[in-house]
């Protein structure tokens, strides 16, 4: 059981480039999340999704886009990368069916540098 899988693990971008961070989960969880974690800091929510076709903004959505076409996948798109987007990005999922607790399971992260 793989859980939450993120690719790539590392990436270096030039300013102005774009890329997609991939996230997939095999636990059939309905909720998925994207966070960023700056060095020595906590996690900040970028976007989340409560199910296929439904997404919503979190605390820091500017400069990012998401889509949720399937239950399993929740890609994060960076358009016109900026140095301020240098961070570690974590994807998470949780099973919120029937009022279940919001225990989120995290992937290993994608370390992104924008130079």
């Amino acid at each position: 059981n793989a859980g939450v899988t993120q690719t790539p693990k590392f990436r270096i971008l030039k300013i102005g480039q774009s890329m997609t961070l991939q996230c997939t989960q095999d636990m059939n969880h309905n909720y998925m999340y994207w966070y960023r974690q700056d060095p020595g800091m906590g996690l900040k929510l970028i976007y989340y999704s409560v199910g296929a076709g439904i997404t919503d903004k979190g605390e820091v959505p500017n400069g990012y886009n998401v889509s949720r076409s399937t239950t399993e996948d929740f890609p994060l798109r960076l358009e016109l990368a900026a140095p301020s987007q240098t961070s570690v990005y974590f994807c998470a999922s949780s099973d919120r069916t029937s009022g279940r607790k919001n225990i989120q399971y995290f992937g290993a992260g994608t370390r992104l540098s924008v130079l």
Binding site: V4, L43, L45, Y48, K101, N102, F106, G109
Partner: protein, 112 residues
């Protein structure tokens, strides 16, 4: 806005001692709390959770205490081991929210 915070950014303990990591929260509507452990280079890992209708919950070597009167949450680790060295985050879930709000984290360092 309301948020979750931590008292101590770094905690250094001797191997075998007990550790206590603290967290203050300000949202009285929060109904559920989680502690996560994050080892270097890895994603956060669930440790233990507690609902707001409980004061204490125990797991294997870990105990979470909730004091709703002063809006305080703590994680106690018994007989701390080198493998416990990590950053620990508390997170709160609001009654109507779909999100967890994370605190800034406390780094636990275990000295041999």
């Amino acid at each position: 806005g309301e948020s979750v915070g931590l008292h101590l950014p770094t905690l250094s303990v001797q191997e075998g001692d007990n550790s206590i990591i603290n967290c203050a929260y300000s949202n009285s509507a929060s109904d559920y709390f989680i502690w996560y452990k994050q080892e270097s280079g890895k994603g956060p890992q669930f440790i233990i959770d507690i609902r707001s209708n409980m004061d204490k919950r125990q797991g294997q070597r870990v105990t979470v205490l909730l004091n709703k009167t002063v809006k305080h949450l703590s994680l106690q680790i018994a007989a701390t081991q080198p493998g416990d060295s990590a950053v620990y985050f508390c997170a709160e879930n609001t009654n109507a929210g779909n999100m967890l709000t994370f605190g800034g984290g406390t780094r636990l360092m275990v000295k041999p």
